[in-house]
Symmetry: C2
Subunit: 139 residues, 2 copies
DNA sequence: ATCCTACGATAGACAATGTCTAAGTCAAGT
DNA sequence: ACTTGACTTAGACATTGTCTATCGTAGGAT
C-alpha cells in the first residue's frame, strides 16, 4: 500500500477521490511521470478529473516535501514519489529512461568555499547522463 | 573579442549578421541567458532578427558543442557560452542568479558499478542550490 | 443523520516557451 | 556577377503550465 498516501493523510490533508487517485498513480520505485502522464493514468480511474487538479495536487505534494520535482530534459517536469530517501538520477539520452541512483560521497564537500560566492547552499542535484543497455544494443 | 565567434568561424559556418549578433550577445563569463533574453538583446543590434533564427542558432551552437544548454528551473532553458571549460552551476532559489563553479573531485567516480544499471555514462551535471548573499541580506 | 461552510475541483481561457512551414534572401564558390 | 543551397523570416502551431470564476463536497457542528 502507498506510503505516500499514508504520509499525506497524516498532514491534515482533506482527502478527496482526486487526491487519492493522484497519489496512487504516482506510487512506486523509479517512477518519474510528467504531469500529463499522471493525468492520463488518473483519468482511467476517475474519468472526470481535470488537468488543473492534477497540477495543483502535484504542486502541493512538492510543497509538502512528499514528492520531488525533476527537470531532466528541459521539457515537462517529472514527479518522483521517492522523496523520503535522498537520491540522484541517471538518464538515458536516447530513450529518456530514468533510474534512481545513490552515489557515494557528498558532492557538497567538493565545492570549496572560494567557489561558493557567499551563497548559503541547501541542496545539490546530480544528474548522470548516458545510454541505457536497451538503447546501446539497438545502436 | 569573442572566443566563441572565433571558434564558430573555424567550423565551416556560413557567417551571417544574425549569427554574429547571437554569438556576440552570448559572449562572457557567468552568462546564462534564456533564448528570449538573447533575442531581446539581439534585436537592439539587428532589429529585424527573428525569434526562429535565435532558436535555430542557439540549437546549432549547442550541437556543435560550443554552447551548453542549462535547465536549472524547469522554465526556459538557458545558454552558457562557457562550454570549453567543464564546470557546474550554483543557483539562487530566490532570485535565480547563476554562477559557474568548479567543484573538486570527480562525481562520476562516486557512482558504483552496482548503481549504473548497465548504462554507459558520458556526462555528469551538478546543480548546487541555495540563497545568494544579496537575497540573504533582504530576507 | 443532516446542514454549513470553507476548501477543493472543474472547464476553459490564457500565458510562456519552443517548433515547424512556406516563401523570400543572401553568402560564398565559380 | 551569377547561381545555388543554406539561411532567415513571419506567423501558425504545439506543448506545458497557470489562472479565474463557478460549482461541488469533505468533514465538523448540530
Amino acid at each position: 500500500m502507498s506510503d505516500l498516501l499514508e504520509r499525506l493523510r497524516g498532514r491534515g490533508w482533506r482527502m478527496t477521490a482526486q487526491r487519492r487517485v493522484v497519489a496512487e498513480v504516482l506510487d512506486g520505485d523509479h517512477v518519474h511521470l510528467t504531469a500529463d502522464e499522471v493525468h492520463a493514468r488518473a483519468v482511467t480511474r476517475l474519468p472526470e478529473i481535470s488537468r488543473a487538479t492534477v497540477y495543483n495536487t502535484l504542486g502541493e505534494m512538492v510543497t509538502l516535501g512528499e514528492v520531488m520535482e525533476v527537470a531532466t530534459d528541459g521539457r515537462a517536469k517529472r514527479y518522483d514519489p521517492n522523496a523520503h530517501r535522498p537520491h540522484q538520477h541517471l538518464v538515458c539520452g536516447r530513450c529518456g529512461a530514468i533510474r534512481d541512483v545513490h552515489p557515494a560521497g557528498d558532492p557538497l564537500a567538493d565545492l570549496p568555499a572560494s567557489e561558493r560566492f557567499g551563497f548559503t547552499i541547501s541542496d545539490v542535484e546530480v544528474t548522470y547522463r548516458g545510454i541505457c543497455p536497451g538503447c546501446a544494443s539497438t545502436a
